[in-house]
């Protein structure tokens, strides 16, 4: 007995589907199976017009268990996390959170992390913040840095060794 998607020869991946559903239940108390495909999410999706993200299709593919298709697509990285889909869903489904789960799984399985995420991660590991203090320019094109502005010292992790140790342990943990 089997179900096969003839366009990709993909088969439902029950284990990873259950893993995602359990995670959503745990973190957001969300049950994607309740989706009835009204597409209210996609109608209002901030990323749809520009980047062709279709949240209702993400939910449908999850329900069908066709996970690899999504993990292999860049489209999961187009979500702007505006949370409109979750806010307005009549069945309390949260496509935005499914997308977070999918991206996490893609990263954990070694797929490339796009854009500046790696740099931000590196920065958090080394000084606790996504970026170090920046030099900016004011309206008259004068360079300005934090220390010129009479602001208190930046708050960041004091014991960086301990901090790094925990974060590196986190990388291999699962929710």
């Amino acid at each position: 007995m089997s179900i096969i998607d003839l366009t990709s020869m993909g088969e439902p991946q029950k284990d990873i589907k259950n893993q995602i559903n359990n995670r959503l239940k745990k973190l957001q108390d969300e049950v994607s199976e309740f989706c009835y495909q009204c597409a209210k999410c996609t109608s209002g999706c901030e990323a749809h017009k520009l980047l062709e993200l279709e949240p209702h299709k993400i939910v449908a593919l999850l329900k069908r268990g066709l996970i690899d298709e999504m993990l292999n697509s860049d489209v999961i990285w187009t979500c702007m996390s505006c949370f409109k889909c979750r806010e307005r869903c009549p069945q309390k489904v949260a496509p935005v959170e499914i997308l977070f789960a999918l991206k996490n799984i893609a990263v954990a399985s070694g797929k490339p992390i796009p854009g500046k995420y790696s740099a931000m991660l590196q920065s958090i590991l080394s000084n606790g913040l996504i970026q170090d203090v920046q030099t900016i320019s004011d309206r008259n094109n004068q360079a300005i840095k934090r220390d010129k502005l009479n602001l208190p010292d930046l708050s960041k992790p004091v014991d960086t060794n301990k901090f790094q140790l925990v974060l590196s342990k986190l990388a291999i943990e699962k929710i």
């Binding site: 745990k26 980047l51 979500c79 409109k84 203090v133 602001l151 925990v166």
Partner: protein
């Protein structure tokens, strides 16, 4: 004098200095004392796409640090505010994750015990300071200034996590703006996203979102665009020129932080509020009528 632990996050203290300057200027006037604490880190929200457990850990870590001080926490950045709030929700509702996070926290000698109040700029000013007090402090009423507000997605949604303003019809910024004499107006695109979250990997698209919203606001004839989020402000103000180029429009929209606008109405010096750091044409803002 009410005391709050001041949680600055990443973007504000490393780049969006105008927000921090204006906050530090107006809070004492509003009888709010901010307590600076060492050892904070990123809230984790920017890493939610990469590893959500890290997001939860970092937020829990920051809550634990604030908890030790014994005061509620003031979080001016909406993204941090959502991250910390969601973290508390998860830790309160899921024993298993709570246990796991606390095990990790213990290696930094920290512990998450119980939820604390997490306040943002908008509810701090609107609900805790109160509009009556604001009205009394106004020296330069911003009469007839037509203002558009932008709350930032993370401040308004998702309501399930408990946000400081109404998710579909937020009015607290409008009420504050009215209290200082200006005229807020609702507009159809009010709840739309600035695009900042994909600036990390798809900057062109992010700027398109920014540009589209500013074009709409400009076409409605607003005099000023008011926000409270350092991420959004970075898009609407710092990158306004680029956003205009991306959508092929001439953008000329003064963008200010709510705290800057309040400071102006209180008669505080422009530079003390960091107005020299806004890259949008804030000099266009006129006081006491046009």
């Amino acid at each position: 004098m009410k005391k709050y632990v001041f949680y600055p996050g990443c973007v504000m203290p490393t780049e969006q200095y105008a927000y921090e300057l204006s906050i530090r200027e107006i809070m004492p006037i509003l009888d709010i004392e901010l307590i600076d604490v060492k050892d904070f880190s990123c809230c984790g929200e920017p890493m939610k796409s990469v590893n959500q457990l890290m997001t939860i850990y970092l937020s829990a870590r920051n809550i634990s640090i604030a908890e030790k001080e014994g005061y509620d926490i003031f979080v001016p950045c909406p993204m941090c505010h959502l991250s910390l709030s969601e973290c508390q929700n998860i830790l309160e509702n899921n024993h298993e994750i709570n246990k796991k996070i606390n095990e990790m926290l213990s290696s930094e000698n920290l512990c998450y015990n119980k939820p604390i109040n997490i306040v943002n700029t908008v509810d701090l000013i609107h609900d805790i300071v109160g509009l009556d007090k604001i009205k009394k402090l106004v020296k330069n009423p911003l009469n007839k200034l037509k203002a558009a507000t932008h709350y930032g997605c993370h401040l308004i949604r998702p309501s399930e996590i408990g946000r400081p303003v109404d998710s579909e019809n937020p009015q607290k910024m409008e009420n504050i703006i009215k209290a200082i004499g200006a005229e807020p107006h609702d507009y159809s695109e009010k709840l739309d996203c600035c695009g900042a979250m994909i600036n990390t990997n798809l900057p062109e698209s992010a700027l398109t979102k920014t540009g589209q919203k500013l074009v709409a606001v400009q076409n409605y004839g607003f005099d000023v665009f008011v926000d409270v989020c350092p991420w959004c402000h970075r898009m609407f103000d710092s990158k306004q020129k680029k956003a205009g180029e991306t959508v092929a429009a001439k953008l000329d929209m003064p963008v200010v932080y709510l705290t800057q606008l309040l400071g102006l109405s209180f008669g505080i010096d422009r530079n003390k509020l960091g107005l020299n750091l806004n890259l949008s044409p804030v000099d266009k803002i006129k006081f006491g009528g046009k």
